[in-house]
């Protein structure tokens, strides 16, 4: 199996990367390398954006670990009231596009640097300094508010598999709760922490919307804004060079963090002696902590959703909270508003788009999870070997490749017939292939952190029965790792239903997906419709995650 996986990863991930790399070896490309790395421009093109990017990456990863870890602990390991509610709130922000967070920040903290209507605080007489309104600090905060839910999802999955025994042994040692949390619980879920921090790091460094909206007014460039700009202004080679460099930097970081989990240390928390789960009683802290968690949820999901919702109701994007109308949702066409466009729910393509989106999301989530599970399994079972390290690195890289470069590489590689295989050009299959590769990191990272918790003897005892690999996966491994696997699937699903670049570049669709419909509206300047679609997408994602939750509870009866 490792051989097959290597082949698959080579085709799906390495080949496109190599292609991108090769495309920077043309004379133009070599020139770009020089400009980026060794020219008067390299400071502004590479070093300063790199610094900003790394600050963001580390800051966001740290913030997400703290926030996501705290919430995961609260939901999984304590008797905080309304655990499911907090849990759901905590998974939401990742489903809300980060631009909504940036907009929400603006509604509150915007100052008069740009003119236009000021934010809530400024309007009420608080002077907001530039550093709080624009640049690194707000970008960091907005990104943490967006990505912490990713960390939450992964850490919660891992925490839910920490057996009571280990925690109780800590209690017997007389350790206080926080000591147990930091000394025992967090370290045994190190793989999840690594996974969460690498994903949030990658998310933060590749995020475009937040740094563009909040950073550009003070001329803060990150690698992602630079990269976007380079491609947007036709300087693809420079863009690719930046992307490759960013990949190299992140891969180095990942390499070192991987070493933390690839040594001899074991992180098995699901053992063959049955696993009870343990909940701490919070005592007097129950309600205060609940309030804190609920407040975080409010700020990070309810506020952005409100802003999104408001912007789908408000006819004027400058005045989000006045003159609300349902027109953009259900209005009849032909009137004054929206140049006579009918409401979203009257758009005949909506239903088609909805189904196309669901199909795409579900198919890609499944293919990605299957491949990701196999990869994660191989990485975990061959922990510390060269094979595992290589696979783990490679499976992480696609996250940082700009979609447009990735898609272009796919067309170039699979557009033409290869040997006996027909050309995949424009087919759904090609899209699925590319999307699978592109989203692989979510699946692999989410999977490996929970797989590593399952002690080997549980699987060995299944092997002895003569059960095949597949049978073991389905009946033993998956049920035990279900929470992490579903978490990965949801992340992939969310990413996929929002993705635009891959879809338009790779697929000549007869029926568009929602993100294309949203793009249509947005390109016409009808942000209300686009925001309404974003909300529809959000509802789909939420439904998917609730479904996953139900499924998980059915499979994990033993944990109750």
């Amino acid at each position: 199996m490792p051989a097959i996986l290597i082949a698959i990863v080579a085709i799906l991930v390495v080949a496109p990367l190599v292609r991108i790399f090769v495309s920077t070896l043309t004379p133009d490309g070599l020139d770009a390398w020089r400009t980026v790395l060794a020219s008067p421009l390299s400071n502004n093109l590479w070093w300063r954006p790199l610094l900003n990017t790394l600050l963001l990456g580390f800051g966001v990863a740290t913030g997400c670990l703290l926030l996501g870890g705290f919430l995961a602990w609260l939901v999984v390991l304590t008797d905080v009231p309304a655990r499911n509610f907090i849990g759901t709130l905590s998974t939401l922000p990742f489903m809300i596009p980060s631009f909504a967070g940036a907009l929400a920040w603006g509604t509150l903290f915007r100052n008069d640097r740009l003119g236009g209507s000021p934010g809530f605080f400024q309007a009420n007489g608080f002077a907001i300094p530039d550093w709080l309104a624009w640049g690194l600090v707000p970008t960091l905060i907005v990104l943490v508010a967006h990505y912490f839910s990713l960390a939450y999802t992964i850490i919660a999955a891992a925490l839910s598999s920490v057996g009571a025994d280990m925690i109780e042994a800590g209690q017997m040692a007389g350790a206080r709760r926080s000591r147990i949390f930091f000394g025992i619980i967090l370290p045994v879920v190190t793989p999840a922490l690594i996974a969460a921090s690498s994903l949030t790091f990658a998310g933060a460094v590749s995020n475009f919307a937040a740094p563009a909206l909040l950073g550009l007014p003070v001329r803060m460039q990150t690698l992602s804004t630079r990269l976007f700009g380079m491609i947007e202004t036709g300087q693809n080679e420079r863009g690719f060079v930046l992307a490759l460099l960013l990949i190299a930097v992140s891969a180095t970081l990942l390499f070192f963090s991987d070493r933390l989990v690839s040594g001899r240390k074991a992180f098995t928390t699901v053992t063959g002696k049955g696993g009870r789960t343990k909940r701490f009683a919070l005592g007097v802290w129950r309600w205060p902590l609940f309030a804190l968690a609920a407040a975080i949820g409010m700020m990070t999901s309810v506020v952005p959703v409100l802003v999104l919702a408001a912007s789908s109701f408000a006819p004027q994007s400058g005045a989000l909270f006045s003159n609300w109308t349902l027109h953009f949702w259900v209005g009849e066409g032909g009137g004054e508003i929206a140049q006579g466009q009918a409401g979203l729910f009257r758009n005949p393509v909506l239903i088609d788009a909805l189904f196309a989106t669901l199909k795409l999301g579900i198919v890609v989530a499944m293919t990605t999870m299957v491949l990701g599970l196999c990869l994660a399994y191989t990485i975990v079972r061959h922990k510390g070997s060269l094979l595992a390290n290589a696979l783990s690195q490679l499976a992480f890289l696609p996250l940082l490749v700009p979609s447009i470069a990735f898609a272009a590489a796919y067309i170039a590689l699979f557009g033409a017939p290869i040997g006996p295989f027909p050309s995949l050009y424009g087919t759904f299959a090609l899209l699925v292939l590319a999307a699978t590769a592109h989203n692989l990191p979510y699946a692999v990272q989410a999977g490996r952190s929970v797989l590593g918790q399952i002690s080997a003897d549980i699987e060995e005892s299944a092997r002895l029965t003569g059960a095949s690999f597949l049978t073991r996966m389905i009946f033993i491994i998956c049920p035990l790792a279900i929470r992490g696997l579903l978490a990965g699937a949801i992340l992939v699903f969310v990413k996929m239903v929002r993705d635009l670049s891959l879809v338009v570049l790779l697929f000549t669709a007869t029926s568009p997906v929602l993100s294309m419909v949203a793009y249509r509206y947005a390109s016409e300047g009808f942000m209300q419709f686009a925001n309404a679609i974003t909300l529809v997408i959000l509802v789909i994602c939420l439904a998917a995650s609730l479904l996953a939750h139900v499924l998980q509870n059915r499979v994990q009866k033993w944990k109750q």
């Binding site: 003119g115 947007e232 202004t233 036709g234 170039a412």
Partner: protein, 351 residues
């Protein structure tokens, strides 16, 4: 080529035989063209895919490298890049429908057929400045009173704005003259720069030019009807049409020397080895509309105030400054393409 000479009527039977035509369009309004086209030519299925110019370029490049020829017509802007990456590389070819050959000005037919022109021009708030634009010379924007009060979308993020600055750089003499008019002395150009245009770009940046992520932000900041002391910004003239809907007071500053911005084209081109060559030509012909003032159903979707049709028969919106009166430079894809990277490097260095 033989097909290039055929009239629309002659193309129809060939096109019907081909059965369909695929077009990548920068505007989603292609959907309305599709309806009109399929009504006009039953039997030819138009497949419109909306995609930004950048993605069109990336996709066509990648496809053709893989030997795939699936798209027929490209409708896109970003002409300097198109010129460089597609036209010069032979990935697309120019086609001028015989019907238009006589009607269009020559500059709209070469190197690529221009369908209409959009703008990036200096806009101000007519509610705050009821007596007309507060700016009459571009150089005023480099003075302290406009410090931090000029907005544009980051030209290192968006091609059109980069084109705007490039165009300014490409007019050193006019810029030098305007400088003299404003400051009463000859301009001194820094030794590392070429000409007054580049000096202007530098001075503008150093006067705390505010860069933002998208034009919506510019519009909101500049146009807000209630604002007391609003900034000015370079943005799209046609956004003025949203004034009422959004509560803006956007107006173009037309009396600005030497120019208030640029006009940039949206072009139509035929992809190399297009699978439906006749239908592709028929579609391009169709998209120029009929001879009515609105251009008929084929052109109407694109006939918005502030954008300009290249066809003379199509009348512009009465509220807009007519094309001839608009004090903007029209970009030249080839020249811009050549100068663009230098300006790009300049603004990168200025960040």
């Amino acid at each position: 080529q033989d097909l290039d000479k055929l009239t629309a009527e002659e193309l129809v039977p060939l096109a019907v035989k081909e059965g369909s035509v695929t077009v990548f369009s920068l505007s989603s309004r292609i959907a309305r063209v599709e309806a009109a086209f399929e009504a006009a030519y039953p039997g030819i299925d138009l497949i419109g895919v909306d995609m930004s110019s950048v993605k069109q370029i990336a996709r066509v490049e990648a496809e053709q490298q893989a030997g795939v020829h699936a798209v027929d017509v490209l409708y896109l802007a970003d002409t300097p890049v198109v010129y460089d990456k597609l036209l010069a590389a032979g990935r697309i070819s120019n086609y001028v429908p015989p019907r238009m050959a006589g009607e269009l000005e020559d500059r709209f037919k070469e190197p690529l057929l221009i369908h209409r022109l959009s703008t990036k021009v200096l806009m101000y708030n007519e509610a705050a400045y009821p007596d007309g634009a507060p700016v009459s010379n571009l150089w005023q924007l480099t003075k302290p009173e406009w410090k931090g009060k000029v907005l544009m979308v980051d030209p290192s993020q968006r091609g059109e704005l980069l084109d705007l600055l490039t165009e300014i750089a490409l007019h050193p003499d006019e810029m030098a003259e305007a400088y003299k008019a404003e400051f009463g002395k000859d301009i001194e150009v820094d030794s590392d720069l070429q000409g007054a245009g580049e000096q202007y770009v530098r001075d503008l940046f150093e006067n705390d030019l505010i860069l933002v992520a998208n034009s919506d932000v510019v519009n909101k900041a500049v146009g807000d009807k209630t604002a007391k002391n609003p900034p000015v910004g370079f943005t799209t003239y046609s956004d003025r049409r949203d004034n009422e809907k959004e509560g803006w007071a956007l107006q173009v500053a037309n009396d600005v020397v030497p120019a208030n911005g640029i006009l940039f084209p949206a072009v139509l081109a035929i992809a190399d080895n297009a699978p439906h060559p006749a239908a592709a030509r028929l579609l391009i012909d169709f998209m120029f509309g009929d001879d009515s003032p609105s251009g008929g159903p084929a052109f109407e979707p694109f006939n918005v105030p502030g954008d300009y049709a290249t066809r003379k028969t199509i009348t512009d919106d009465p509220d807009s400054v007519p094309l001839e009166k608009l004090n903007a430079w029209t970009i030249d894809a080839a020249r811009t393409a050549a100068a663009r990277s230098r300006i790009s490097d300049l603004i990168i260095a200025l960040q």
